[in-house]
Amino acid sequence: MRLVCRHISTFGKHSITNHNHVGRRFLHRDITVIGGNLIGAATAVALAASPAFAQRAISLVERRDIKFPQNLNEWSNRVYAITPGTRRFLVDQGIWQKLSPQQKHVCRRMVVWENQSDAALDFRGSDLVKDDEDVEPDTVCFNIDQHALLHAIYERLKELPNIELRSRTRITNIELPTLDRRSFPPEKVTFEIFDEPEKHTTDLLIAADGFNSQIRKLMGVKNVSWSYKQKSVIAVVDLDGLSDVDGTAFQRFLPEGVVALLPLGNKKACLIWSLVDDCAEQILKLSDEEFVETLNRHLTDTLDYNQGVMSVLHGTRLIMNSVGLRQSCSKVTPPRVVAVHPQTRASYPLGMGHAVNYVVPRTVLVGDSAHRVHPLAGQGANFGFADVECLVRNLAGAAFRGEQPGDMKALIAYERERQRALLPFQVAIEGLIHIYQNKNLPVVLARSLGVQILDSLPYLKHKIIQFASR
């Protein structure tokens, strides 16, 4: 609990004022969730649905208005790759059942390659061991539109009587408890709502307010972060060419970033293309035709192939074949983009963030507010849902042990479990970015050889995909 002691000084400044003005009403909610996007709303659902909190008042506060597009079966440019592990959580929460079949597209295969050599990794869903009966046996991930998923969460939320949803609500004057050793248990969190006279108190504040979290700043926890100086260009595109284009996700590492295509069915795909800031600006300005042409060039060109590396790869391939190790995909046949849907091109900045502590007394961070990752692994949302599962499990366990709501031991257990699970991922993603940005011959050779050997070792590949899809 070294961390807690450290916060004593940080907290002091937030809790000086005395707010017991005459005639001021205090409203108490047992748990308040700040941020009504995917992770915040899912947290509220998971808490309210848990028997441990069925008798508790849970409040979900969102600044924006919560509204959805007319046609939820239409794909927008924000698509999440939901792993089987996250699916299990969504099924348990009754959210998955609210999604119609055409809103979740099954991806059965994932091909990863680069532009300096033709070494490629080919993951198939059949490499995964299934513990769920009702998942199609060879699913790598489910591609789900952001609006459809959020809508499903809110549909489930409406069924739970103990959630109070407050949209278009801004909270101000948040005061986190001091951790004065004499005043234990810590005081409750108090806050006000903009334009409302009452004072609100809560036993536990859950912050799901995104990577730029205001609550995290208030908590005073150290946040390690940097910008990748990259933007992610997103769009919905039409594909042509391959027969299995509807079941395969493609990802190509380029020196300027990563281009990825998530299949959406009917030869449509969602493009997620991370690019250095300047390039991204230029690409967004291109006309639709030029955009498609540039994209195809980045997906298919072989001009950067390093001949030396290629011949070494060819040699090892022959040797490996002779001892019986075969690659699952000998040559990548990338899809060809034929059109980009109008008005779907957009971009958002990329950065990495890691809060050194996810919890302080009575306050906890979930999702992007605690950890922000590069989208190349497609894990941001999955990490967030895993946070929710872990947090609710620990809080419910503590409730059934008779601990006080907002008990620090349960929060610490959540923090320990999540950081232990996430840090290796964050390091691996960082490592991948740096390895693939490098154009030096030894690095290119090493990574190409590594990828080629890995691709022919089903056991290792299986382990990796199992690790990534928990």
């Binding site: 807690v4 069925a54 008798q55 050793r181 409730a399 042990r401 008779g402 006080q404 031991k409």
Partner: protein, 287 residues
């Protein structure tokens, strides 16, 4: 740790614990009992502010709730499904003997039980009362009493004596009283430390002198109780042991887990099956 320090520590421990060895087992309970009471009072009143502080002296003890509360709820409720936490133990009356600052009484009350917290050290009861008074959801369901178990006249559905028997001078008398205050077919829960070489090394020397998990001199290894002794004493007073489980503390992660061996910490669950009142006098004659 240097060799010199290790020897100093070892020497202090051995001196410390060799003192009451012969006196406590055989002699009549009156005189040494007051000694132990005084020692407990002295030790615990020093620690009166420590009970509820995170990372305080009783951190390890409060973390044990992760094991002992589920043990109690499982045994009392059987396999009924958990619904609302606040009604988990509704209707059960529980006496927490040696409640200290109420580290276990409060969670049990929060789960719906009516708890009587009993402790012989006045400063413990003061700390417990003070802390419970701040939580309106439980303060009506906890009743703290400063006193001895022999003065308790009521009978309860369950008795909990967690980390207590190693501080008790006359174990036989204590167990007799424990059995007496439990209703027929009621439950008794004990957690304590076994008297083994390993527990001397780990729970006494390791925890008190090396990693400072437990206040120094709080425990006396000679007074630790083996599960067999406890089982015999319980049987003598009409209680049948249903389960003995080892517990282990992980100092690095700071949490407890159930453990396959009961050579250091263990929890014991017994059920009162008979009424030993008639035999009580006869059994009390020393050998």
């Amino acid at each position: 740790m240097t060799r010199g320090r290790f020897l100093r520590v070892l020497g202090r421990v051995l001196l410390d614990s060799s003192r009451p060895l012969s006196s406590q087992v055989k002699e009549a309970p009156s005189a040494p009992a007051s000694d132990t009471v005084k020692k407990n009072e002295r030790d615990f009143s020093k620690l009166r502010d420590q009970w509820w502080i995170p990372r305080g002296e009783f951190e390890v003890l409060s973390r044990m709730n992760e094991l002992r509360v589920p043990l109690i709820t499982d045994k009392l409720r059987g396999h009924r499904k958990l619904e609302d936490p606040a009604s988990t133990l509704k209707g059960f009356s529980i006496i927490d003997v040696g409640c200290g600052g109420g580290l276990l009484s409060e969670p049990l009350a929060r789960l719906g039980a009516n708890v009587t917290g009993l402790d012989i050290v006045p400063s413990n009861i003061a700390a417990a009362k003070d802390h419970a008074s701040r939580d309106p959801s439980i303060r009506d369901r906890i009743n703290y009493i400063c006193g001895d178990i022999k003065d308790i006249g009521e009978q309860y559905d369950a008795l909990v004596a967690s980390e207590v028997v190693e501080h008790v001078e006359d174990l036989d008398e204590f167990i007799r009283n424990c059995s007496r205050v439990v209703k027929p077919h009621g439950h008794l829960f004990f957690t304590t430390i076994n008297r083994t070489l390993l527990s001397l090394l780990v729970a006494k020397i390791g925890a008190e002198y090396i990693v400072h998990l437990v206040p120094r001199g709080l425990h006396d290894w000679q007074m630790f109780v083996t599960p067999e002794e406890l089982q015999l004493k319980l049987a003598k007073h009409g209680c049948a042991v249903s389960e003995v489980k080892g517990m282990m503390y992980h100092p690095i992660g700071g949490y407890w887990t159930w453990f396959g061996m009961d050579c250091i910490n263990y929890a014991l669950h017994a059920v009162k099956i008979g009424d030993p009142c008639q035999k009580g006098e006869q059994d009390h004659v020393p050998k």
